[in-house]
Point group: C2
Chain length 109, copies 2
DNA sequence: TACCTTTATCGTAATATTGCAATAAATAAA
DNA sequence: TTTATTTATTGCAATATTACGATAAAGGTA
């Protein structure tokens, strides 16, 4: 049917997959990398930096903002984006907790 | 268009987004969690464990296998799945490297 | 006010994803 | 060989995602 059956999964499973989904596009990875690289806000140079059309970048920014990875404040005619540090840390922590396991059985199959 | 423009991104950006995409579904999170929980292989009880139809689970397993998160070996009529430890660690490392940053500027906006 | 700049939204086309019934494939057991 | 069991594949319908042109919205400037 094309729609995920969220109701049969736990809160944690749904949350983890949502966080992962936000990172599941190279443009959104690139946006986050750029924000960390310049170590401050970004005010509109993402379109030339990344090479997608302005509406497309706007859409990706909206998605990152929806999940809480970034926040944006209006500054004159432009909007200033930066990492939302608190949310970034909490989502990173969730992913770390999930990923930081090791299967002690090296060759079970 | 609906198709991601992979050619304008770096190898790393594409790889990271692919890894994230594999985790971007609660069923695949649940499968991996289950594999870690039982701490060994799983031979076909995932359908009842998760609650999706058998072809759907098979599809998710295929995707996890394609990315290298799990591996499966035929064992009689059934197939035995487990975490692919080496790949798991290397993909985890990539995600860690990407996620383990902090923006020193707390409130730039 | 009129104009410019910047970002968001709308509408739409192309493609991808999710889910499952039906069925095939593979192997074990009778 | 026939039958049962388990998993993979096919085909399809419903929905989601990606991308962008056109345009709106918001605020600054002349």
């Amino acid at each position: 049917m094309g729609v995920t059956k969220t109701e049969i999964f736990t809160e944690e499973q749904n949350r983890l997959s949502q966080i992962a989904k936000a990172l599941a596009h190279p443009a959104r990875i690139a946006i986050l990398q750029h924000l960390f690289k310049i170590n401050s806000c970004v005010c509109g140079d993402l379109v030339e930096e990344i090479g997608l059309a302005q509406p497309t970048i706007s859409q990706h920014l909206k998605e990152l903002k929806r999940l809480g990875f970034i926040k944006g404040t209006v500054e004159g005619t432009s909007v200033c984006y930066c990492i939302d540090t608190d949310n970034w840390r909490s989502m990173r922590k969730m992913l770390f907790n999930f990923l930081d396991r090791d299967n002690p059985i090296e060759n079970c199959c």
